[in-house]
Every structure is written in structure tokens, then in C-alpha cells.
């Protein structure tokens, strides 16, 4: 297991955003996480990447306990993430945005290595022609690609993708999925992907976990999960019980 989160509890005041959540990810896997709005998916990412400290539970990454470590340490250890609401550095150019990841990944690298890495990522995410534009000049699909590009520049072992497909057209989604698969094989990534678009997540995930109200309610292959009664209830509600 590359990542093992055990018994994660995260409370915000009286609200329990994550309630004893166990998630483990095997190396080279694509794990999909789905669930209705407010079910704790993004909170889970924030706990893994160190933005939030969990109230209880532990996160073990590659055999090391990273629970409650600050984000920059976790990033250097090999976990990179994207944000649901895109947040590239707006007035920096696309290339500079990617360079940040390469500079601060904590790996000693020569400038020629960094140049090659950045060019490779630009090509992979199809941003080469936009490299010298400020990030704020990009359109939404491009900004989403830049989020991924910037995370890839950290050369992570584990990549957390938080709704990277939201707002894209079906054709763009298929294209983005291809890009993610390509990045995975070229850079040797394990991926956790949070997504609302069922068609996409069913297609790309090896395994899927379903959250509802901060609890993990189902886990399995895409087809197992899709036919799980608890999952259907979480999304569509319970059928009305007739009196007979």
C-alpha cells in the first residue's frame, strides 16, 4: 500500500465532515472517490495533503506517518494535488507556475534537468504554445490542465485530482482522461481522483470508494459500486416504503 488512511475523523464545530474513514491505495492504482456534495471528499484530500489536521486517525504514506505534517513537507515527500476551484498563480506565466513545482519539490536538480522536466510537462498537458502567457489569460480547460501540470512538476508518487473534469464538455473530458492516463504511465503515478462525472470516473478508476455524510458507504470495482443499494440510496434517496 502506498497510502493508508485509518480511522480519519475531522470535525468542524459540531459537524463531522469525516467519520472514521479508512482508505488505502495500492501502488500504480487509480482510486476513484465519489459521493454527493458535502460528503467529505475534498475534506479527505485536505487531510491527506496536510491543509487540515485530522482530529483522530492516521495517514501513512510509503511507510511513513504523515498525519498532521505541514503541506510543504507532504508535497516534498511525494504527494501532489490539484484544487477543485482552480488556483494557479494568476500573474505568473504558465511556465513559471510549473517551475514553482520543480523548484520546491525538494529534490536536488540541475537547471538543465528542470528545463527538460518543464518542457515534458508542458507537452504532456498540451500547454507548450501557452507557456509564456500569464495563467490568468487561460480558459477554464487550460487552467485545469495547468493545475495538473503544476502538480506533476513536483514529480509526485501520489497525485490527488480534485474534480479536474468539472465544467468540461464530454469531448474535453475524454481528452483529459487520456491525458491523465498518459501522465500516469510516463511519470509512474498512483492517482486518487475525486469526481462527480460518473461516466468519467467509472471509465478511469480501477476501484471506487463512495462517501456519504462523511462515512465510507461502499468500496469495490466500478460495476460493484454502481449496483450497490446504499450508493443508489445516497444519490437518489430511499424508495418509499408502501404499507403492503
Amino acid at each position: 500500500m502506498i497510502l493508508e488512511a485509518k480511522g480519519i475523523i475531522k470535525r468542524f464545530g459540531g459537524i463531522v465532515a469525516l467519520n472514521k474513514v479508512d482508505v488505502s491505495v495500492a501502488e500504480d492504482e487509480i482510486l476513484g472517490i465519489i459521493g454527493p456534495n458535502g460528503s467529505g471528499k475534498t475534506t479527505f484530500f485536505n487531510v491527506i495533503s496536510g491543509v487540515y489536521k485530522p482530529d483522530e486517525g492516521s495517514v501513512i504514506f510509503m511507510g511513513k506517518n504523515i498525519t498532521g505534517r505541514p503541506p510543504h513537507i507532504i508535497a516534498k515527500m511525494g504527494i501532489a494535488r490539484t484544487f477543485q476551484v482552480v488556483r494557479p498563480f494568476p500573474s505568473m506565466t504558465v511556465r513559471e507556475n510549473i517551475l514553482i513545482g520543480a523548484y520546491f519539490s525538494g529534490k536536488h536538480k540541475s537547471s538543465s534537468y528542470i528545463d527538460i522536466l518543464v518542457d515534458k510537462i508542458l507537452k504532456l498537458t498540451e500547454l507548450s504554445s501557452k507557456a509564456d502567457l500569464p495563467a490568468k489569460a487561460l480558459n477554464l480547460p487550460e487552467k485545469r490542465r495547468l493545475e495538473i501540470a503544476r502538480a506533476l512538476a513536483l514529480e509526485p508518487k501520489l497525485l490527488l485530482l480534485d474534480e479536474t473534469l468539472a465544467g468540461l464538455t464530454p469531448a474535453e473530458i475524454d481528452h483529459a482522461l487520456e491525458m491523465i492516463k498518459k501522465a500516469k504511465s510516463e511519470m509512474g503515478l498512483t492517482i486518487i481522483i475525486v469526481e462527480h462525472i460518473m461516466r468519467a470516473i467509472m471509465k478511469i478508476s480501477d476501484r471506487i470508494i463512495v462517501f456519504s455524510n462523511g462515512i465510507k458507504i461502499a468500496e469495490g470495482t466500478p460495476s460493484q459500486v454502481a449496483s450497490d443499494i446504499k450508493v443508489i440510496e445516497a444519490y437518489l434517496g430511499k424508495p418509499i416504503q408502501g404499507e403492503g
Binding site: 503541506p71 510543504h72 484544487f83
Partner: protein
């Protein structure tokens, strides 16, 4: 064709050369005139490190100017020596200011936006009140230095010029370094910067300490120059003066503080004799206009102009 980078280099070198020449060919009054400009310039560069680069608006930066001044004065009074130049004490003043920045910054830099601005303002006012109650520091009367050092514009000018040189070198180094890159990322989006591997707390603190160091040295030199140190050195006007000069020119740039401070100084100088407070009204208005319409300051306008020229 000339670009912004060349313009910056030319202006900086030009100003450094001219300001050094004035020391040799200028009259006493011209030197004194430029000396105050140099002081404002360094302070604008100083606040640029924390506010211009990281976006944390420091309304109490004068606290470090004051701490530097008081440290220097205290040392001059208590270490009775004629063998070293008193300006060496201003370096210690800078170090003490930097140390206080470490203490103040660790908690205060956890705040963001308006909360940070208010906290820095409060800290600066609090230190002012504390200092005015310490009798070893002369209480509300301050520390007169006329018995220990004499009014010497030329030496002060040289000390100030060297400090300016150091500050500009520091600014250029930061802007080309990994450190400066990290600070820019923090300004643009702190959480994203943190997740991208940047130790944001450490970087902010380092920026705060460096800016305090510079402000402290300037405070020390000014204390020696005016042979008198008082709680006036902590006044919020001084913090605002630094902020406005920097923002007027263009925050986070190397050219910005230079243009801004010169412009501020010229406007203030022309108005101060006939209308002693009119410049405050004008700068208040200018500040609002800058914040609302040209957040990048004058350098931003120049930059846009260059872009238009290129397109033609």
C-alpha cells in the same frame, strides 16, 4: 528597443551615481535634501520586501525603524567610545530590529489581510507606549545625543548611501532567487504555494526579518543624524509614508520604490512649506486611486505602455 528591465537597471545605476556625486559636489543643503530622500527610498525598499512581495500590508513597519533608532541611541549613550564610528551601532540597531521581527512575526504573520494590518499597527503603537514608559530609554522625552555625537550630514549621507546600495542589491538578489519566487507565489495564493512545497511560514518570516533589518539600520542612522531619538520614530505616519511611496511606484518591483519615493518626496517638499498638511490629503486621495484603479502602481502603467509599443 528599451524594455522595462533595461529601464530599471539604467534608473537604479543612474540614481546611485547621481546620489553619490552629490556627496562630492553638492552644497550642504543639497546633501541634506537628498539625505531625507535616501532615507525614504530605503524605507520604501524595506517595506517592499514584506508588503510588496508577499502582499502582507504592514501598517506598523515604523516599529522597526524606532527599535533601530533607540538601540543605536542607547548604545551610543552607554558605551562611551570614540574609537569607533557611531554608525556601527546602527548596524546593531538593525540586528535588534530583525530579532524583534522574529518575535513579532511568528504570531502576527499567522493573520491575513486586514487582520495582519491591524495587528502590525497595534504592535507598533504598543511598543511606542512601552518605550515611552521606560526611564532607561528617556521615557516620553527620548534620548538626546548631542553630547555624544555631532550633527554631521556628510557622514550620515555616506552611511545612508551605503545602506541604500545594500538594500538595492538585496532587492535584486531576492527578485532573482528561489526565495523571491516563493514570496511571489505566497502573494498570489498562499495555500496553493504551501501545497506546492513552499514553507510559507518560514518564507514570510524571513521576508519580515529582512525588511526589519533594513528599517532598523535606517532608524539608527537617522537617530545619529538628527542627534535625537524619541517616540516620534514609531509614529504611524512613518509606516504610511513607506507604504504610499512603495504603492505609488509599484509594489513588488525593483523600479517601483525608486519612482514612488522620489515622487512622494517631491510632492511633499513642494507643498510642505506653504501648506504643511496638504500633502497628507493628496496622498490619501492618491492612495485610494492607486488601490482602486492601478494596483500595480506607476511601474504597472509603464509596463502596459511598453506592451502597447511592442504591439505596434
Amino acid at each position: 528597443m528599451i524594455n522595462l528591465k533595461d529601464l530599471t537597471t539604467l534608473s537604479i545605476i543612474g540614481f546611485l551615481v547621481i546620489s553619490l556625486l552629490i556627496l562630492f559636489i553638492g552644497s550642504q543643503s543639497l546633501i541634506a535634501f537628498f539625505l531625507t530622500l535616501l532615507e525614504l527610498l530605503i524605507l520604501a525598499y524595506s517595506i517592499n520586501i514584506i508588503t510588496g512581495l508577499t502582499g502582507y500590508v504592514d501598517f506598523g513597519h515604523a516599529v522597526f525603524y524606532g527599535i533601530g533608532a533607540y538601540t543605536t541611541a542607547f548604545l551610543i549613550v552607554n558605551i562611551n567610545t570614540t574609537s569607533v564610528t557611531p554608525y556601527l551601532f546602527s548596524l546593531i540597531g538593525g540586528l535588534v530590529a530583525a530579532f524583534f521581527a522574529l518575535l513579532i512575526g511568528a504570531p502576527v504573520l499567522r493573520l491575513k489581510g486586514a487582520y495582519f494590518a491591524i495587528a502590525t499597527l497595534s504592535v507598533s503603537e504598543a511598543v511606542k507606549v512601552i518605550v515611552s514608559n521606560i526611564s532607561a530609554l528617556g521615557g516620553s522625552y527620548g534620548i538626546p545625543l548631542a553630547r555624544y555625537v555631532s550633527y554631521d550630514v556628510v557622514s550620515a549621507y555616506l552611511a545612508m548611501w551605503l545602506t541604500l546600495l545594500f538594500t538595492i542589491v538585496l532587492a535584486i538578489w531576492i527578485s532573482n532567487s528561489k526565495f523571491g519566487y516563493g514570496l511571489r507565489a505566497i502573494k498570489e495564493d498562499e495555500i496553493a504555494a504551501n501545497v506546492m512545497g513552499i514553507n510559507t511560514s518560514l518564507y514570510k518570516l524571513m521576508a519580515y526579518v529582512l525588511s526589519a533589518l533594513v528599517a532598523g539600520v535606517v532608524g539608527g542612522i537617522s537617530g545619529i543624524l538628527y542627534v535625537y531619538v524619541s517616540t516620534e520614530y514609531f509614529k504611524v505616519d512613518i509606516s504610511v509614508k513607506m507604504l504610499v511611496s512603495m504603492m505609488l511606484g509599484g509594489q513588488g518591483t525593483i523600479l517601483g520604490p525608486l519612482i514612488g519615493a522620489i515622487l512622494y518626496y517631491v510632492i511633499q517638499y513642494t507643498l510642505v512649506t506653504s501648506y504643511p498638511f496638504l500633502h497628507l490629503l493628496i496622498f490619501g486621495t492618491i492612495l485610494i486611486i492607486i488601490v482602486l484603479f492601478i494596483p500595480e502602481g506607476l511601474v504597472g502603467i509603464i509596463k502596459r505602455r511598453f506592451k502597447q509599443l511592442k504591439l505596434r
